[in-house]
């Protein structure tokens, strides 16, 4: 299982390559197939759970429009949407729809949820990209520093900083950043993905990607690029620092583990510089568990994105999700949540595959 990957390298713990299947089939191919098939139960379970939880309160139409329509109108809409049929029938119909990529239609504005993915998913993707960038640039070097100075003051400071990054809710970090840089110092914009003028330019662009940075580059206007980037700084920092704390700890633990290996001592005795010892000898083997866990952070990132987008009015999937939550449009909520479940399952699959290609010990 992807989640049981040990955070610390421990050769005794990893499973030996399965010799039983040698000759029967290629172990990597076998792993790929098994791992791919595992996606289906995962998604199936989450879809079922979300469906049952959401339907346990009644039908979505009453929830969304119950206070605006008369009983007769409600009944008409309910039967038109098929919510008066037995739950089992609705459930299997829904499963079939999800399987064919149809995640439902929002009640409040009548837009298909899969269309929302295209419109707002790119915004979330862009935010996630900035956040991962911040996390990598901040977390990995600092993690190596902390590991090298283990139990000395730089380590102490960095560890407390990492715990602080974890203890600060992403929306509180966002509000503080906003207060200091946007309201008091007035150096960065308060919210949004771009100023109105740039946004207008970008949305009228032909076959736009939806990722503002790419679109701004294609527009070729330095002002637009600067505008898009300045809007990205605070949300990217807020979400990125949260993740950076996790990367820091992860790199620290793993580099400490590999720094105590015999080959590091051997390299040191050959006169390899301390910098090179950490950077090459200890860091490289520590990368595998790091990659695995970084991949798993996609779930964390998506959860954090919902909060960050709300804080900064960043119009992505999370922002939209909260809007629909407020409108009690549970069909849209269910659709977005299921969509995210599929994304998470697929990402975990890809991460597992990368880990298996890098390290044969991961295969099972």
């Amino acid at each position: 299982m992807s989640q049981s990957a040990p955070a610390v390298i421990n050769p005794a713990q990893s499973e030996p390559p399965t010799r039983r299947f040698r000759g029967i089939t290629n172990p990597l191919a076998r792993f790929l197939i098994v791992r791919f098939l595992l996606i289906f139960p995962t998604v199936f379970i989450l879809v079922t759970m979300v469906f049952l939880l959401m339907r346990s309160i009644g039908d979505p139409i009453t929830a969304a429009l119950g206070d605006r329509l008369t009983a007769a109108q409600l009944a008409e809409r309910i039967s038109a949407a098929g919510y008066d049929r037995p739950l089992v029938v609705q459930y299997f119909e829904y499963l079939g729809q999800v399987f064919t990529g149809n995640f439902g239609t929002a009640i409040t504005d009548g837009r298909p949820v899969s269309e929302l993915l295209v419109t707002y998913g790119s915004a979330t993707l862009e935010l996630a990209f900035y956040a991962v960038l911040v996390a990598l640039v901040v977390g990995i070097p600092l993690g190596m520093v902390a590991a090298y100075y283990r139990d000395k003051w730089p380590d102490a400071v960095l560890r407390v900083a990492a715990i602080l990054a974890y203890a600060t809710p992403v929306f509180f970090a966002g509000l503080l950043l906003k207060l200091v840089f946007a309201v008091w110092l007035k150096v960065l914009p308060v919210a949004g993905r771009a100023s109105t003028r740039t946004e207008l330019q970008l949305t009228t662009l032909d076959n736009k990607s939806g990722i503002y940075l790419i679109d701004a580059f294609r527009l070729g206007s330095p002002a637009a690029i600067g505008d898009v980037l300045s809007h990205a700084v605070l949300p990217g920092l807020a979400l990125g620092l949260l993740t950076a704390g996790i990367f820091l700890r992860l790199v620290r633990t793993n580099v400490i583990g590999s720094l105590s290996m015999d080959y590091v001592d051997a390299a040191r005795s050959r006169g390899v510089s301390e910098y090179r010892l950490v950077r090459k000898h200890a860091y490289k083997p520590a990368l595998i568990p790091i990659i695995t866990v970084i991949g798993l952070q996609i779930a964390l990132l998506l959860g954090g994105a919902v909060l960050t987008e709300t804080t900064f009015e960043w119009k992505g999937l999370g922002f939209k999700l909260v809007e629909y939550l407020g409108a009690r449009d549970f069909v849209a909520v269910q659709g977005i949540v299921v969509l995210l479940a599929v994304i998470v399952a697929l990402t975990n699959f890809i991460v597992d595959i990368i880990a298996a290609i890098i390290d044969p010990r991961v295969r099972y």
């Binding site: 299982m1 989640q3 955070a7 610390v8 005794a12 713990q13 595992l38 139960p41 995962t42 379970i45 759970m49 979300v50 939880l53 959401m54 346990s56 309160i57 139990d151 380590d155 102490a156 407390v160 990492a162 715990i163 602080l164 974890y166 203890a167 600060t168 809710p169 929306f171 509180f172 509000l175 503080l176 906003k178 207060l179 946007a182 309201v183 308060v190 919210a191 704390g245 996790i246 700890r249 633990t253 583990g257 866990v293 779930a299 964390l300 998506l302 959860g303 919902v306 909060l307 709300t310 804080t311 909260v322 939550l325 549970f330 909520v333 949540v337 995210l340 479940a341 998470v344 975990n348």
Partner: protein, 342 residues
């Protein structure tokens, strides 16, 4: 170290937290003590909230009239008032009580369900085990906040009372954390199942429930205090996240930090800082305190991460020897509090 400590001292030194504080040195001791102090303040504030808070959490006026909205800190309202006209200090203090109740209920429920499922699944094996493992893995991989939102929608339909709100929030969080307890207990159970004492119990004819609850249960639950600590800090963050998105407890039913932060988003834009800073700091300090405790206990329990006492300090052998409540076998992963978070 020649005098024998009195019995009282000996017992005192073996108490769970005291033992770990004595076992730790240097930075680790600093982190543990700092965490214990912060957690202690949090617990005391939660317990004595009615005495500490100057006003009620949903109080909008006193005998001198209405509090007024967004009053800056100072004077009658030391930390100012919110956009809704509540006293910020009182909301922060009462919020600690809500947070404590929610995490106690949430963690107790998830431990109960998670441990029971883990024991049954790990000990009995067969297809039940496989199904439960796949389910828990699926839930575990999913963003906890999103799942908690879905659960909150299902549960919190019209919960406006204090206990209704607390339970709805707690159960939403429980749904998310059961898999974590389940995984740990199941892994331990599978390991313990093959121990000699379990086989001996089978040989002398003990019933399966007796083996499960007497022999396996007692040994498999040794890591629980640790996960409990780590999970409670996550539970506070999830509760705050739910409140921030508008799925927490109603403001008239209880004070909740996440809700207050949500209401302060627009304040921040107009430069009003006191409505967001104080509830936010409360969350940070509480989570920091609990995490420092959990983190230090985790490091102390893991011989690879424990800072050793210097040799010249001639510590008695008993103290450096790992007699913590936790299993020290290398085959147990150190539990990483941050890694599991989402």
């Amino acid at each position: 170290m020649t005098t024998t400590p009195s019995r009282f001292v000996a017992v005192w030194r073996k108490l769970p937290i005291v033992h770990q504080v004595r076992q730790s040195v240097g930075l680790q001791r600093g982190m543990l003590v700092a965490g214990l102090i912060l957690t202690g303040i949090f617990l005391l504030t939660a317990l004595f909230a009615p005495l500490l808070a100057p006003y009620g959490f949903s109080q909008l006026r006193d005998e001198e009239g209405s509090f007024g909205a967004q009053v800056p800190p100072g004077g009658q309202h030391i930390l100012g008032t919110t956009v809704g006209g509540y006293d910020v200090l009182s909301r922060v203090i009462w919020g600690s009580r809500t947070a404590l109740l929610v995490i106690v209920v949430a963690v107790a429920l998830s431990i109960f369900a998670g441990v029971l499922l883990g024991l049954v699944s790990g000990y009995l094996g067969s297809w039940i085990d496989r199904v439960l493992v796949v389910i828990s893995d699926a839930v575990y991989a999913f963003p906890t906040l999103l799942l908690a939102i879905v659960a909150a929608i299902a549960i919190s339909g019209g919960q406006s009372s204090f206990w209704g709100g607390v339970f709805a929030a707690a159960v939403s969080i429980t749904v998310v954390y059961i898999p974590q307890y389940f995984r740990v207990i199941r892994a331990e159970t599978v390991r313990i199942k093959s121990e000699a004492y379990v086989e001996s119990a089978k040989v002398i004819g003990s019933s399966t429930p007796r083996i499960m609850f007497r022999h396996v249960f007692r040994n498999a639950t040794r890591t629980l205090p640790l996960i409990f600590t780590l999970n409670s800090s996550e539970a506070i963050l999830t509760l705050a996240g739910l409140g921030f998105l508008g799925f927490g407890i109603e403001p008239s039913a209880a004070a909740e930090w996440g809700y207050d932060l949500n209401k302060s988003i627009s304040d921040v834009t107009s430069g009003i800082w006191w409505t967001s800073l104080f509830p936010g700091l409360a969350i940070v300090l509480v989570v920091l305190g609990i995490t420092l405790v959990g983190e230090s206990l985790n490091d102390l329990a893991d011989p690879r991460l424990r800072t050793r006492r210097r040799a010249d300090q001639s510590a008695p052998a008993l103290e450096t020897a790992p007699i913590s409540t936790l299993d020290l076998n290398d085959d147990i992963d150190s539990i990483d509090p941050l890694e599991a978070r989402s």
